[in-house]
């Protein structure tokens, strides 16, 4: 039922799109036909675009997203734990994380390019910096929100002070951390196109940027659709992971 509804909505959107294109209110450079975009899907998949196939572009982008998210999530969890557990670090690092979080990634891309050149490093760094704050903030809040009874229970069961963070605090904070990871991956996704504005080929963002330069709107639209669809798929995978990791989410114990 849900699936039928969703498919119906997609078909409806495509129909509206095709109708608008047929009406020729705007030239194809503004609104390319769905057929043209589909044609580009086939051509970029087989012949390629800017020297790489669509899959090559997508894989390059996904690789950056995965790397950036891995580093960002790892760093975010460690930083969040430290901020949540050590009051001095909360005072010191808390505002810094908020500062970075409020910056648009493009604002520091230039700095990263100056520091790391135009290879893979600045792109992965950018995604790392985009993915880290949501995880750090979620972890820090969750760590501070762990009920005293859990900590007391662990301590009266003989857990040593240094064991508490990984035996109790971290797993207790897992639901919020996983939510933070989902947000982080989303932010990384929205950032990847920005990260690929400088020497972004191969990469979906680089492909879109090149297509924009030559007014190949059908390729631009194709790139947007591919980013969106792969993002949906990844979020679905993360939701599955969420159910596996925190089956107790939302249940009062």
């Amino acid at each position: 039922m849900n699936l039928a509804l969703r498919l119906g909505a997609v078909v409806f959107l495509l129909a509206v799109w095709q109708a608008v294109a047929w009406l020729k209110i705007w030239p194809p450079v503004f609104v390319p036909e769905p057929v043209a975009v589909f044609d580009q899907l086939l051509r970029t998949s087989t012949e390629g675009y800017s020297g790489y196939t669509l899959a090559g572009h997508l894989l390059a982008s996904l690789r950056r997203i995965v790397l950036g998210c891995l580093y960002g999530v790892g760093g975010g969890i460690v930083l969040g734990l430290l901020i949540g557990v050590v009051p001095v670090l909360r005072t010191l690092l808390g505002p810094l994380v908020t500062f970075v979080r409020t910056l648009p990634p493009l604002a520091y891309l230039s700095l990263l390019v100056i520091w790391f050149g135009i290879g893979e490093e600045p792109k992965v760094w950018l995604l790392l910096l985009a993915a880290l704050p949501p995880v750090a903030v979620a972890t820090a809040d969750a760590v501070r929100g762990v009920h005293d009874d859990y900590l007391n229970a662990a301590r009266s069961l003989g857990a040593r002070p240094w064991e508490i963070p990984y035996r109790v605090v971290l797993p207790s904070a897992l639901p919020e951390i996983v939510t933070g990871v989902r947000v982080a991956v989303g932010v990384a996704y929205t950032t990847v196109v920005a990260a690929e504005t400088v020497n972004g080929v191969p990469g979906i963002g680089g492909m879109v940027r090149d297509a924009q330069r030559y007014n190949q709107t059908d390729v631009v639209v194709l790139g947007i659709i591919v980013i969106g669809l792969s993002g949906l798929l990844i979020d679905y995978l993360l939701q599955t992971l969420d159910r596996r990791l925190v089956p107790w989410r939302g249940r009062h114990i």
Partner: protein, 269 residues
């Protein structure tokens, strides 16, 4: 009810200060399970408890009853070592309590099971430094004692309220604590489950010989469960009654209640 525990046969209530100074030494002979000496606790300029003097001999089932906010939970957290006394000293087997430890197991009002661990995992939490085989044996033993054999692999959110609290009791008993501290453990359960749990905790106390400090606001629960009842009034919490409950007194009370109930049933019939 004579306890099989050898601790029950020692002289009670006389802590030996010399041995008490040794943190890792054997427990001083004759030391009480728990002793509070002129203990007070102040929360942000508000006296919450005391001064209180209290000796809990090993093997006792002490119930503490009083209205909400009278300081009974404060008393428990001081004995558990969750909070230090503002003045006075808390001794466990003659040694000062400096923090929580496996010699004093705690059961909270909410089960507070670790939701990411199975029932077995929760019970094994306090057995981390035990050898693997004896850990498994101990977990199996506790599952059997609390009737959770079939729930070993279940996660806490898959259990009923009563089973959760049983698992919490099993977890607290696993490291063989000398004292079991229970903070209104059955307060959140329905009446039927509560009665069953009351019977079960009495049986566990008899079979293990553990000393129990049981906090409740239910007078009937206090008098039917305890071998000794403490009434607390406050804040600041002070002992207003300290009375032993002998087994036959409890039986008399129960018989009296039964007679009264059947008499009422007769008159209504």
């Amino acid at each position: 009810m004579p306890s099989p525990d050898p601790r029950a046969h020692t002289t009670l209530g006389s802590a030996a200060p010399v041995e008490a100074a040794e943190p890792f030494g054997a427990p001083p002979v004759g030391a009480a399970a728990i002793e509070l000496r002129a203990v007070t606790r102040v929360y942000r300029d508000r006296p919450a408890l005391g001064p209180i003097d209290l000796t809990i001999p090993a093997g006792e089932f002490l119930t503490v009853v009083g209205p909400s906010g009278c300081g009974k939970s404060t008393l428990l957290s001081l004995v558990a070592g969750f909070a230090p006394p503002t003045a006075g000293s808390v001794l466990a087997e003659g040694s000062p309590v400096t923090g929580p430890g496996p010699s004093r197991g705690v059961v909270f009002q909410q089960p507070r099971l670790f939701p990411w661990l199975s029932v077995s995992g929760n019970i094994a939490f306090g057995l981390k430094r035990w050898p693997k085989t004896s850990r498994a044996e101990r977990v199996a033993e506790l599952l059997a004692m609390t009737g959770l054999e079939n729930a070993a692999r279940l996660k806490p959110y898959e259990l009923s309220g009563g089973m959760r609290q049983r698992a919490a009791i099993a977890r607290a008993l696993a490291p063989r604590p000398k004292v079991l501290l229970m903070d209104e453990p059955f307060g959140a359960l329905d009446a039927f489950t509560r009665e069953r749990m009351q019977e079960e905790i009495r049986d566990l106390w008899r079979s293990t010989g553990v000393t129990v400090l049981f906090i409740t606001h239910d007078v009937t629960e206090a008098t039917t469960l305890g071998t000794r009842v403490l009434a607390l009034a406050g804040p600041p919490g002070r002992i207003t009654l300290d009375a032993p409950v002998s087994g036959d007194l409890r039986e008399k009370v129960e018989a009296a209640i039964r007679t009264a109930a059947s008499a009422r049933a007769d008159t209504t019939a």
